[in-house]
Every structure is written in C-alpha cells, then in structure tokens.
C-alpha cells in the first residue's frame, strides 16, 4: 500500500510537470493578446512596449522562459508575478482559495445530505409517486443552468434584491468579517451550487441502489430474516455507495480547480474561479498558469484519495 501511494505521488508530480508544459505552450506560444501591449496601456509607444517586454523576460527564447518558470514552481514554490499587478501569484491564489474552499465544502455537505437520502428512498420506493416526483424535480435541477438558478435564488430570497428577505445577498461575503458571517453569506451560494450535484447524486445512487437490491447477496440478507431496514442500509447502501466516492472525489477536485466559477460570479464571491476569468481576460499568463497548476494539483490529490479510500471500501481491491 505504501509503495502504491509513493508511486502514485510520483506520477502526480510527473503529471503536474506535463500539465505545466501544456499550459505554457498553449498560452505563451499562442497568446490571446500581447501581454506587453496590454500592460503598456492605450497610449503606449513602441519603446515602452519593448521595455516592458524586456522586464517580463518575454524577449527570452521560449525554452529559457519555460525553464525559469519550472525552476521557480518546482524548486521554490514560486509561481512568478502577475503581469498586470506585479503581485505574487502564489499569494493571490492563496488569498482566493479560502472563499472557494468554503463554498465547495459547504455545498458538498448539502448535496450529500440531500442527494444520498433522496437516492436511497427513491430506489426503495421505486415507481411510487414519491419516486416519480423526486426524479422529475431532480431532472429540473440538473437541467437548470447554475447562473440562472443563482439569479432566481437571489431574486426570490436575497436580503437586498429578493422578494422574501431570508438570505444575505450579492457581495455579502466581501463585507462579512467573522467566519460565521461568512458562512451565513454562503448559504444561498451553497444551495445553488449543491442543487444540480445533489440531483445528479440522487439519480446516480438511485440507479446504483436499484442494481444492488437485485443482487443475490441482498436476497441472502433477506433470507436470513434481517429487518428490511438493515437489508437496505447495511447490505444495499454499503455496496451502492462505493461508486459515489469516485464521483465525489472528481467533483470536489474540479470545483476547487475553478469549476465553481459561475456561482462565484453570480454571488460575487472572490474565489479562484473569478480570478481565472479575470486573468484570462487580461492575458495574465503567470496567473493563469498558477491557477491551472493549483487546479491540476487538487484533481490529482483527490483522485489519489479516492483510490486509497476504495481499497478500504471494497476489500476485493488491493493495490500493490
């Protein structure tokens, strides 16, 4: 097991190097705009642009730029400085990360708390009115775009622009100073971000559960005389839930990597997703590079966690 983990970590590092290279090539070789020009502003003259180019080392050969960058990242954990603000990329990302992490963490709790019970109950009461109506509702939530759902939620429930003033509204995160106030300001974003995922998990677990409940070992559990509750929870859910773990690992990794961008934008939460949009618009290459690497890091880490968890959940899985 230890050897397996060590090997996976090494692979993860290799993967990060590859990701850096790909991102570097994509943005440095095919930039969407000349960063030097952008930096110089509208009234720039050619000399100024040239001067900036030199300052940012954009005039060095690509391999030198790449080598410098990689050295910084992997040896000094230094992601360089933003082209636009000169600020340290690492500092900006670490500044932005808590907001995204809080958004993701809360919404994970909500979508698991709603998605899993709904999935189990729907599977057990398959074809009942309850099952059919929840499946229609979940379909609606899956189909609703997050930005639309977010706006509707604000319109209905926000304290500033809503019809019913229940939850803190847009930008309340920025003005919140205590952790509790931050959590309160996150209530609406949590629910909006969790809605679609909760619906997906409910449907996924329902079908996984329906498959499991027709397994022979469920029949054995019933033939033993176990109460139906134990048959469902101890024998059924235990098996049906394992594939959900894979899903969860991927989702959390992706969201931390910036996939919560729409929710962050709608609710004006200063998270990683918001930052990457900003940076792409400004062709701020070091920022983009840094965020993508952080994202890749999270995805790799959570995949590894899932694989390790799996060995504990399913005794037939053994890594070597």
């Amino acid at each position: 097991m230890a050897r397996y983990i060590a090997r996976r970590v090494l692979w993860g590092v290799a993967l990060l190097v590859i990701v850096s290279a790909v991102v570097f090539v994509l943005f440095y070789v095919f930039p969407s705009a000349d960063p030097a020009k952008l930096r110089a502003g509208r009234t720039a003259n050619p000399q100024l642009i040239e001067q900036i180019r030199e300052q940012l080392h954009l005039d060095d050969p690509i391999y030198v730029q790449f080598w410098d960058y990689m050295k910084g990242v992997f040896l000094h954990f230094d992601f360089g400085r933003s082209f636009t603000s000169q600020a340290d990329v690492r500092t900006i990302i670490l500044d932005r990360l808590p907001a995204t992490a809080l958004l993701v963490a809360g919404s994970v709790v909500i979508w698991l708390m709603i998605g899993l019970p709904v999935g189990i109950i729907s599977a057990v009461m398959r074809r009942s009115l309850l099952d059919r109506s929840t499946m229609i509702i979940t379909l609606a939530f899956i189909s609703a775009p997050v930005f639309w759902l977010g706006l509707v939620a604000l319109y209905l429930f926000a304290q500033d622009v809503g019809l019913i003033h229940i939850f803190p509204g847009i930008g309340s995160y920025l003005s919140a100073d205590t952790f509790l106030a931050k959590c309160e300001s996150m209530l609406l974003p949590w629910m909006v971000l969790a809605a679609a995922t909760a619906a997906i998990y409910a449907r996924y677990l329902r079908s996984s559960m329906i498959d499991t409940m027709s397994e022979d070992y469920i029949r054995t559990a019933r033939a033993k005389g176990l109460p139906e509750r134990d048959v469902v929870l101890r024998h059924g859910v235990r098996s049906a839930i394992t594939p959900i773990v894979t899903l969860l690992g991927l989702d959390v990794g992706l969201l931390l990597a910036g996939n919560a961008i729409l929710t962050e934008t709608v609710f004006n939460i200063p998270g990683v997703g918001q930052q990457i949009v900003l940076s792409i618009r400004r062709s701020d290459l070091p920022m983009i590079q840094g965020i993508v690497l952080f994202g890749a890091f999270f995805i790799i880490i959570f995949n590894l966690i899932v694989d390790i968890l799996y060995a504990y959940l399913d005794p037939r899985v053994r890594y070597q």
Binding site: D216, S239, L313, D314
Partner: protein
C-alpha cells in the same frame, strides 16, 4: 400433520405485458426429516414457489394466493414481521450461486454472526464461537482463521459451505436448497450433496431440494415433485418417479438423462420445442404443445390425481394407465418421449 403443507399456491406477477402465472396452483407436503426433490427446467416456477414460502417474492406487483401451513400458521397470510422470524430461523434457504450470494464487502464471520444475532439473544462473542463451530461442521478447516476472511478468498465449493453454515446457525426445521450444486464442479457437487445429507441427519431437518438435474434428485431425494410451467405434473416417491413415471414430461426428462451404467444409446432423447410463455400458457395441459401423445382430451386441465400409479403417486395426464405403460417405452428397457418408430 405434515411439517409444511402447501395448498393450491398461486404466485402471479403483474407486468406491463400482462399477468405472469409463475406458480399456478401447486400443492405439496414436506414431512419431518424427509428430502423432497422438486425438479423442472428453468422458469418452471420451482424457485418462485419456494421463495414464496419465505415471503421473498412479495412485492406490490405480486399476487399470492393459497395456503402455506407451517407450525399452525399460514405463511401466505403472515405479516412481514412474522415471516422475518421464520426466515433463516425455522426455515433457511441456500441459493444457486455461492459466488454472488455472499456480500463481497463483509467478512464471512460477520455475515454468519449477523445471521445468529438476528434470531438469538446471545453475546457477539458467543455468536462468533458458534460461527467457528459451524464452519468446522460444514467442513471448512481452520475456522478460527477463515472466519476473518472475505468471501472472495474462498473457492466456490467453500463458499457454498459457508452459505450452508449460515443457513444452519439457527437450527432450522426446513432447509430449502435452491440448485445448491448447479454452479459447482461435478466433484464438488457430490461433496456438497453428501454434506447436505449428513447435516440433515445431524440436525434432523427436512430438505427441499430444488434442481433441474435428475441425477441430483436420484442421489438425495426421498420424494419427488416434477414441475412444468407453473404446475406440479407428477408427484411420488423417488422409485415411483424413476421406475414408473406417469407423465410424458417426466418420460422426457428421464429419456434425456445420460446413463453411464446402461448400454450406450445412439442419441439421448430430447423434448422438442420450448416451455410455454407463462403470460399465456396453453389451455388445459401445459405440456400439450410439446407432447407427441396429445389427444382430444388434453385441452381440459387434468387434475393432479392418482391415475395409473400406486397410491400416493399422482400425475396430471389424461392418457390411460395402459397407454402410459406402452407409450413411455421408446426402446427395450428405456423410457423417453419419442414416438416409437412403427
């Protein structure tokens, strides 16, 4: 009074295509300590009938009627909770595929202990001790160690032994064995059947042995019920069924049996055609469409009565006893279902 009396049991499933009459009025008795063999091909309702005894077929789309009398109560009418106290306790069941019948994520010990604690008020430690003991009883050596292993660490035959141990933990009065050897190698089959027999004597329980294999029946059963398309078509002692079969379907089964102890025949006889759809079975005798001896009376349902056999040996075939005696012989000393060449 018999230990178990099944009377006119019907199990129908409502599906989108119509009502599937999986079990269409069967009656049989199980006596203390006997082995009743139920034989028939896949889909004839033998498993459904026995799972219904334990209430395992109950669902919103299942219609069950008839009586299942066990120890003064009717299991067909019993509440789910009452049934639960019978399941795995008074009546235990083992299934065809031991590879998939154990939960893959739990150690066998845990699964055994769970079965004990469901029905007995004893400590976990005592339950574990009992589980180890039972593993030994079903022929799994080193139970103390193996109890902490997962099902995938056992071979197929060993897993069936674990299933057997699980069925026996609460001293059942009846063991229903649903194709217990079908998924196993032939050599393992014999071991498992011998084990069932030994445990049956040791525990004094009755066994309902469900199989499609007449060889298994010949080895273990005292009495035999032959099922076809949801009905019992013939019922009698082992000798009656093997040496004086009354129903053409039974002839077909016997004729298709390879007999290494007899001179080799050119070709084993086979039953032409397919079993009928249980959505719309034929009028009258269900075997009629596949029977070469069909005649004018067959569209009426023949009751399960003693017709040409000894007392207690009943069948559902309209042919006269004399006709049966001549038609079933397809060549000297061989029973089968082909129309003998003129």
């Amino acid at each position: 009074m018999s230990l178990l009396e099944v009377r006119d049991l019907q199990v129908h499933f409502e599906t989108d295509d119509g009502v599937v009459k999986a079990v269409d009025g069967i009656s049989f008795d199980v006596e203390r300590g006997e082995t009743l063999g139920i034989v028939g091909e896949s889909g004839c309702g033998k498993s459904v009938a026995n799972m219904t005894i334990l209430g395992l077929t109950r669902s919103p789309v299942t219609r069950i009627s008839g009586r299942i009398l066990f120890e003064g109560g009717d299991l067909a009418q019993a509440s789910s909770d009452e049934l639960r106290t019978v399941r795995g306790n008074d009546i235990a069941m083992i299934f065809q595929d031991p590879l998939t019948s154990l939960h893959p994520f739990y150690k066998v010990g845990r699964q055994l202990v769970e079965a004990i604690l469901t029905h007995q008020e004893i400590s976990k430690k005592a339950a574990r001790k009992r589980a180890v003991e039972l593993l030994g009883l079903v022929g799994i050596p080193d139970g103390e160690r193996r109890i902490d292993e997962y099902p995938h660490e056992f071979s197929g035959g060993m897993r069936q032994r674990v299933m057997m141990a699980m069925a026996l933990v609460n001293d059942p009065k009846i063991l229903i064995a649903d194709e217990p050897t079908t998924a196993l190698d032939v050599t393992i089959q014999a071991q498992i059947l011998a084990l069932v027999e030994r445990l049956q004597e040791q525990f004094g329980m009755a066994v309902i042995l469900i199989t499609h294999d007449l060889g298994v029946i010949a080895e273990s059963a005292d009495n035999v019920a032959v099922m076809y398309a949801g009905r019992i078509v013939e019922r009698g002692t082992l000798d009656q069924i093997f040496y004086d079969p009354q129903h053409p379907y039974t002839w077909g089964l016997l004729g298709s049996l390879a007999r290494p102890d007899r001179p080799r025949v050119k070709r084993l006889s086979q039953i032409q055609g397919q079993p009928p759809s249980l959505l719309a079975p034929p009028e009258g005798c269900h075997f009629r469409p596949r029977c070469p001896h069909e005649f004018a009376k067959c569209p009426q349902v023949p009751g399960l009565e003693v017709r040409g056999g000894e007392p207690g040996h009943a069948d559902r075939c309209w042919l006269s006893p004399e006709q049966k005696r001549t038609l079933r012989v397809i060549e000297a000393g061989r029973i089968g279902l082909e129309v003998p060449a003129a």
